[in-house]
Structure formats: structure tokens, C-alpha cells
């Protein structure tokens, strides 16, 4: 059986990307597999491909609803109709229909909170699951930067489904996290396919400035000089918005902001415009990038300091998927670490909030609904943010199912929050250490992920420490818009709706 032939037949590609073939072979040999592949190497192919060769369905657990929807859209777009996303977006009606016709689907995406329902689990037990795929598997580890308590239930679910062949996928996970993933899923012997986190065609640059104004001026200068398209990452929606309109005002190319606070239609348009080459620069928060498959992004600038090296690498990795020379520039001024500390704290409920929450639950059991959901009134009254609330809900439901009394859950949760905060702080310090380091940035990252560093990259394309030459990344191709025809409405509509070159 020649895998490349099948690849071409189903997906239209001639070659596998690094790691894909190893993962697929491992699964087809019926081995549990942990795969760490960098973003942009087509992780989804690793479960889609075996799906076509194995009998039965592929169950994919995915943490982010938007990401899940993107995946489903992409597959539908490629002509695969036997795909469904089971998540809280479905109406009761749609859910019921899907559950009663589960055996008709080849690819079933499911969000972890759906696993709480016995009904759902029972239906899943009725079908044959040939592959159990966990996307963003680092979410299962308490050491991972994006831990989600409801991922802890996945080991249990695996067992209930009769220990199907399992694939754990992640883009970035340290050795410790990888161990944790395998333990939580109950996989004692698994194949590991770990590709390097290094992206040799992306130069890594840190620039230190003394003041905010200097940093902003430098950003303005960079976007004028660097070859677009590019992404500028911000930790604040407001600053992303303001910078985008500042740049537009200055006439710097075609710039738009993108963040979670925008309406869905706008988000889709901006993302599609960028993919379609109608925009040069996106001023984004970390909400941008999931499911964005654009291979000619030439630069990524970080205007704010990321919360950990893992997310820094994920964001940087959106550049240069075409293997062309690309650059990542992080701008830093002293005191920039304050924002990550605030953000980290904001993601977790405070001790006082938890005390209040549990005493309210105790004195008023009505707040606790069936299947362990909590009345959303409590969220408002306790002033929980969306992220905090999700954590509280997840944590509570996981432990209530095990029948643990409320006081114990409260104490457990407090300890948990403390540990999480400590671990987030450690991550921020590691990020800061990396910024302050005087060693090659690339080698430093490889060490962090326990890789042997022997990259042979010319210093002028490696990093600021090795002696990068930013001129390599300056704009050579002037950007040209096609404005005129746009502004003749009738001609524009004609072009849109009448294909003059179509054969009669």
C-alpha cells in the first residue's frame, strides 16, 4: 500500500510534511501515538488520513469551539460530508438528530463538555470508534500552559469506549507535559513522533527599548520597512484596535484589527481578506491564527510579551509556512512583564471569589442544576470572567461526578488555583529569561524542549544574538491594490456574477 498515492487521491498533495507519515504509519500499525508536530504541518491530516483506511469512525476531541468549526468547514469544503461537530452550539433538535444518526458520520468532533452527558457517552459506545484523537493534548496536563480540567475525563472516556487506538496531538509540549499526557490518557506504551520545534526559515529577533513611545515608533518603522503580509500580536484588544486605525491613518498599507470582541461577520471578512491577499497587516490578539492557513506570511511582530514560550512559538510559527525567509520580532520595554502577570491572574478566580462561590452553593442548592451545571446568575453575582467561569464549571463538574463533598472540592480548587498561578508565573519568568538571555535564541528554545541543538543557520538569518540582518526581510515588492474596478459598481457586479470566459 503506497501512502503517497492515497494522499494524492484524497487530499491532492504529493508529499507528506515532516512527521505526518510516521504518525499515520504508527496508527495504521494499531499503535497508540503521541505526536508533537509544529503548527502548520497539517496536524489534522494525521487523523483524517487513517479515517479513510480504518473501518469505523474517528472521534476527535477538540477544546476550542471556533477551531472545531473551522476544521469542519475545511473538511466540508474539501467535499467530506460525513463530518459533524458535537458541541453546545447545536440546538436540542440538531443534537437529537445527530445522536440518532451517529453511525452515518466518519469524523465526529466533540468538545470535552459534551462528554459530561451519559446520553452522549452511551451513544458513542454504540458505534465503532476506530481512532480516538485528542487535539491540543497539552490541555490535559496540569503542567501545560493551557490546562483544562474537563480534559481529565478523557482517560475515563477512552476506557468506556473500549480502549480504541489513540492519537494525542500537540504543537508544543515539554518533556514533562508529554509524560503527563500519556499518563492521563492511560497509555503505558505509546509510539512517540516528535519533530523539532525549530523553524529554520524564521529569524528570531528581540529588540529592547527604553520607553513605550520608542517601542511604538519602532513598530511604525518596522511595518513600513518589512515585506508584508505580516501579523502584529497584542495582548490587548484595545491596543490592537488603536494601532490598526493609527496605521490606516498613516496610510501604511491595508491594515485591519482582529480580535474576539468583533462581530462574527466582521471576523470572517477580515480573516478571509487576509487569506485572499486583500490585506497586508493584521493587528491581532491571540484569537487570530487558529485555522488560518496562509503560507506566505513574512513576519510576526509581538508588541506585547507572550505569557509563555509555547504560545510565542505557536504564534511565530504562523510565518513562513512556504519555507521562504521570514522574521519574528519581539519588542520589549522594561516593565512589559506586568501585563502577563495581570493577565495570568485574571484567568484564575481569586480565593475570596471561591469562598463566596462555595458558600452560596451550600446555602442555596438550587444554583446547582442537573448534570452539574451551575446557574449563570452566580457568575454575574460573583463577577467571574468567562475564562474564570469555565474553569470553575469544569473543575466542579469533574469532581462532583466523583461524589466529592463541596468543602473538599473548594479546598482542592483553591490549592489548584495556587498551583496554576505559580506555574503561570514560572512560565512568565522563563519567557523573561529567554528575552534577557545572551545566547542564541534558537538554541535556547531547543534546550527548553529538550532537543539537541545543532542547527546550521547562517548568523544573518538566525537571531539577534547571532547577528541577524533585518535588511533581508525588507520590502522589495511594492504592494498594488486593484481599486479602480472596485469602484464601478455595475462592472463589479457583472464580474462577480457573469463569467465571461466560461465556455458557452
Amino acid at each position: 500500500m503506497e501512502l503517497e498515492k492515497i494522499l494524492y487521491q484524497y487530499f491532492g498533495y504529493s508529499y507528506f510534511k515532516p512527521g505526518q507519515k510516521e504518525v499515520i504509519t504508527s496508527i495504521l500499525e494499531k499503535k497508540h501515538t503521541l505526536a508533537m508536530l509544529p503548527t502548520g504541518t497539517g496536524k489534522s491530516l494525521c487523523y483524517q488520513f487513517p479515517g479513510y483506511l480504518l473501518e469505523g469512525a474517528v472521534l476527535i476531541i477538540s477544546p476550542l469551539l471556533s477551531l472545531m468549526q473551522d476544521q469542519v468547514d475545511q473538511m466540508m469544503k474539501m467535499g467530506e460530508k460525513r463530518v459533524i461537530a458535537l458541541n453546545s452550539f447545536l440546538s436540542q433538535e440538531e443534537k437529537r438528530y445527530a445522536m440518532n444518526h451517529l453511525d452515518q458520520y466518519k469524523f465526529i468532533f466533540i468538545s470535552p463538555e459534551m462528554v459530561n452527558s451519559d446520553w452522549v457517552v452511551n451513544r458513542l459506545q454504540d458505534i465503532k470508534v476506530s481512532l480516538f484523537a485528542v487535539d491540543e493534548a497539552h490541555c490535559i496536563s496540569q503542567w501545560g500552559y493551557d490546562f483544562r480540567p474537563d480534559y481529565l475525563k478523557l482517560g475515563e472516556l477512552r476506557k468506556k469506549l473500549g480502549n480504541p487506538i489513540t492519537l494525542a496531538l500537540t504543537a508544543t509540549a515539554t518533556e514533562k507535559v508529554r509524560e503527563d499526557i500519556l499518563n492521563s490518557l492511560g497509555l503505558s506504551n505509546a509510539n512517540r513522533v516528535v519533530t523539532t520545534v525549530d523553524r529554520p526559515n524564521i529569524a528570531l529577533v528581540v529588540e529592547k527599548w527604553n520607553r513605550y513611545n520608542e517601542k511604538f515608533d519602532r513598530l511604525f518603522q518596522l511595518v513600513q520597512e518589512l515585506q508584508p503580509p505580516g501579523i502584529i500580536y497584542f495582548s490587548s484588544k484595545k491596543v490592537a484596535d488603536q494601532t490598526a486605525s493609527f496605521l490606516r491613518g498613516k496610510g501604511v498599507g491595508r491594515v485591519m484589527a482582529y480580535h474576539g470582541g468583533m462581530e462574527q461577520e466582521q471576523r470572517i471578512l477580515v480573516q478571509q481578506q487576509f487569506l485572499n491577499g486583500q490585506l497586508d497587516i493584521i493587528c491581532a490578539t491571540s484569537a487570530f491564527g487558529m485555522g488560518v492557513n496562509k503560507d506566505n506570511i513574512r513576519y510576526v511582530v509581538h508588541f506585547h510579551m507572550p505569557l509563555q514560550l509555547e504560545s510565542y512559538l505557536q504564534e511565530v510559527g504562523r510565518a513562513g509556512r512556504d519555507k521562504g525567509p521570514s522574521v519574528a520580532i519581539l519588542l520589549y520595554v522594561p516593565g512589559d512583564e506586568q501585563l502577563p502577570f495581570q493577565l495570568a491572574e485574571g484567568e484564575l478566580p481569586s480565593s475570596a471569589q471561591l469562598d463566596w462561590f462555595f458558600s452560596s452553593l451550600k446555602s442555596n442548592p438550587d444554583f446547582l442544576k442537573e448534570n452539574s451545571t451551575i446557574s449563570p446568575d452566580l457568575r454575574k453575582m460573583g463577577g467571574f470572567t468567562e475564562v474564570q467561569w469555565r474553569l470553575v464549571e469544569d473543575f466542579l463538574s469533574v469532581h462532583l461526578i466523583e461524589g466529592i463533598p463541596l468543602e473538599l472540592i473548594r479546598d482542592k480548587m483553591k490549592r489548584f488555583v495556587e498551583e496554576r498561578l505559580a506555574s503561570k508565573h514560572t512560565n512568565i519568568f522563563k519567557m523573561k529569561t529567554w528575552i534577557d538571555s545572551a545566547e542564541c535564541r534558537r538554541l535556547n528554545i531547543l534546550q527548553y524542549f529538550n532537543e539537541n541543538g545543532d542547527t546550521q543557520i547562517t548568523p544573518s538569518q538566525c537571531c539577534d544574538i547571532c547577528g541577524v540582518n533585518l535588511q533581508n526581510y525588507e520590502s522589495r515588492v511594492p504592494q498594488e491594490g486593484e481599486k479602480e474596478e472596485y469602484l464601478m459598481w455595475k462592472g463589479f457586479l457583472r464580474k462577480l456574477l457573469i463569467n465571461e470566459s466560461a465556455p458557452k
Binding site: 440538531e94 490606516r248 462577480l496
Partner: protein, 350 residues
């Protein structure tokens, strides 16, 4: 003057100090309360109902404050939330309106709930037909949502013709419609459309492209869509594809959820007297629902609620009272209760 301020000033002029500035807030946000809807009719502000759904109280207060500072409006001494126009304000507004007349086709009260739906439908229809015409089946649909895709499927099935044919037809219908509207700039719509290998602009981008103020663009966009809807309603025979933009919009969809339930029960012939106990709501709440239904559902008959001769007397009293205040009408028609008066006024408003 910013276009937003112009609209606020116009609203305040219409209110003539008889309502608080917050009634403008509710009106522009499109609050579906009987009071707001009645005010919209009473002060001839139906145009602007629900045109700024994301308005905040503070941005309204800011606009009012700034215009009061400039001497266009005057705060009432007794009721600080009421404002009247100054002479300067009146003259200024008149001048502004000469320069930029109010949008002709805009009718928020009538079309507010339909507008978003029609936009979503037209944008997905153009995108899908464009890609059909260019034989491209790999693209990301610009609109999500099951219902709209179901609608699209129905439309395409209904017009199952040659793909080139459907493109041509849609082009002809769209262009002839857009050319029919007086004083409309078709670019306001065309720039927003997505098709094969071209992604439409966001509202903000389109405004910038046309060098229009964003608020002015937004209002112009609504104006154009409302024209389109009116034209489709008036001349359905001229459009075979576009009329489907209005397909199956249940009249009761414009009602609030709770009123819709009341409406459904009435449709099933449940008598009014039984509704409070069935719905476990106060009688006055049910009455509010019925007034809302009367305001929104064209062919809803109020004869079973108000006797014909009482209706006539209320109408007579309303016509002789310029402000149509409930209290004055009640005084001249003592045999009618407030519910009956509101109901008759609701029907009269149309």
C-alpha cells in the same frame, strides 16, 4: 456636525420636550416595548426605530450635552431629562437637512427585524452564485447559521437552472433594482459583497472607501436595504430570484418571544380571558403583548377586544387631541379603558 448628532437633534425636535432623552435611546436601540413603539408613531420617528442597536446611554448623553453646550437645545428646568429646541437649533437643523436630507426609504419600525436577515441572505446568495458561476466549490461561506443555509438550499433548488443563467438573472435583477432607487449610491451595497476570489469589505472599510462618516454610511446602508425590501414588496413580478429574500418570514417573528407565545395562543383560538392563567402572567402583561401584536402584525384584528362603536369614539377623540395623550382621550371617552385606547391607537398608527 457629526451625523449621529444630527439624528439626535432631529429626534429631540420631533419629541418637542414631551418625552425624556431616554425615549430617544430606547427608540434608536429598537426596544420592543409598547411605549417606545407608540412614541415612534406619535412623534413620527418610525424611520429611526432600531437603527443603532449597539448605542450606549453614555454616548447619547454625550451628544445631548455637547449640543446643549452649543446652544442648539435647552434643558427643561422642571424636568432635567427633557430638552427643547432653541431657535438657533431649529435654524441649524433646517440648514443641515437641506444639505443632507433624511434618508427617504429608511423605515426602521417596519423593517428593523427584517434588515439583518435580508442582508445575510443577499450576501450569501451573491457569494454562492458567484462561485457557482466560476465553477468553484472550495470557499468559506461568509454567513454561518443553519437556517440561512437551509433557505439558500431552497432558493437554489427552486431556481434550478443553468449556472450561467442564474448569475445573469441575479445580475439583472440587482442592477435594475439598484438603479430604480432615487439618490441611492449602489456602491454602498456592492462594496460589501463577497464573491469568487474577492472578499467584501466590512461596514467600516466601506465607509472609509467612500470617504463617508461611519454613522452616515451605516444609515445609508440601511436606507438602501429598506428600499430594496420595499421595491420587492411593491413589484414582486419584476424579480424572480430576489423576491425569495423575503421568503417565509413569519410576521410573528418580529415580536418578542413572550409576545409571540401569546400570539400563537390567540391564533389557536384561546380566548383572551384565559391567557393570564395559561401563561401565568399578569393581565396587564398580556395586554402589553396584544398591543405589541397589534402594532406589528398587519392583519391582526382588534374587533374582539374593542367594540366597533368604542373604536370609532376613540379615533375621533385621538384626532381632536394633537398629542394623542392617553389621559385626554380617556377623559373624552370614559367608557373605554386604557388597554382599549392603546390598542386602537396602535392600529391607527399605521
Amino acid at each position: 456636525m457629526a451625523y449621529f448628532d444630527l439624528i439626535i437633534l432631529y429626534c429631540l425636535k420631533q419629541l418637542n420636550g414631551e418625552r425624556t432623552i431616554y425615549s430617544v435611546y430606547h427608540l434608536l436601540k429598537g426596544k420592543k416595548s409598547a411605549q417606545t413603539i407608540q412614541d415612534a408613531h406619535l412623534f413620527s420617528l418610525t424611520k429611526f426605530f432600531g437603527v443603532f442597536m449597539t448605542l450606549t446611554r453614555s454616548s447619547l448623553e454625550e451628544a445631548v450635552h455637547s449640543m446643549s453646550k452649543q446652544g442648539y437645545i435647552l434643558q427643561s428646568e422642571l424636568e432635567p431629562q427633557h430638552y427643547t429646541m432653541t431657535e438657533k437649533g431649529n435654524a441649524f437643523l433646517e440648514l443641515l437637512l437641506k444639505e443632507r436630507p433624511l434618508p427617504v426609504y429608511l423605515d426602521g419600525l417596519k423593517y428593523h427585524p427584517l434588515t439583518q436577515l435580508v442582508w445575510e441572505r443577499i450576501s450569501i446568495l451573491v457569494q454562492v452564485v458567484s462561485n457557482l458561476v466560476y465553477q468553484e466549490n472550495k470557499y468559506i461561506p461568509i454567513q454561518k447559521g443553519k437556517e440561512i443555509h437551509q433557505w439558500l438550499k431552497n432558493v437554489l433548488r427552486k431556481h434550478s437552472m443553468d449556472r450561467a443563467e442564474i448569475g445573469k438573472k441575479l445580475f439583472n435583477e440587482l442592477t435594475s433594482c439598484l438603479e430604480r432607487g432615487e439618490g441611492l449610491n449602489p456602491l454602498v451595497l456592492s462594496l460589501r459583497l463577497t464573491g469568487h476570489q474577492i472578499i467584501g469589505l466590512t461596514s467600516m472599510q466601506a465607509a472609509d472607501e467612500l470617504k463617508m462618516e461611519r454613522t452616515a454610511y451605516h444609515i445609508e446602508f440601511l436606507n438602501l436595504l429598506h428600499f430594496l425590501i420595499q421595491d420587492l414588496e411593491k413589484n414582486p413580478e419584476s424579480y424572480s430570484i430576489l423576491t425569495d429574500l423575503l421568503m417565509e418570514t413569519d410576521p410573528s417573528l418580529v415580536l418578542t418571544l413572550s409576545s409571540r407565545k401569546t400570539y400563537e395562543l390567540l391564533q389557536r383560538g384561546i380566548p383572551f380571558e384565559k391567557l393570564p392563567s395559561i401563561r401565568r402572567l399578569k393581565k396587564s402583561t398580556i395586554e402589553d403583548h396584544i398591543v405589541e401584536i397589534a402594532l406589528n402584525v398587519k392583519d391582526f384584528s382588534i374587533h374582539s377586544f374593542v367594540k366597533k362603536e368604542v373604536q370609532g369614539e376613540i379615533i375621533g377623540a385621538a384626532k381632536s387631541s394633537p398629542t394623542r395623550q392617553l389621559k385626554t382621550i380617556r377623559e373624552s371617552v370614559p367608557q373605554a379603558n386604557y388597554f382599549e385606547i392603546r390598542l386602537v391607537l396602535a392600529k391607527l398608527g399605521e
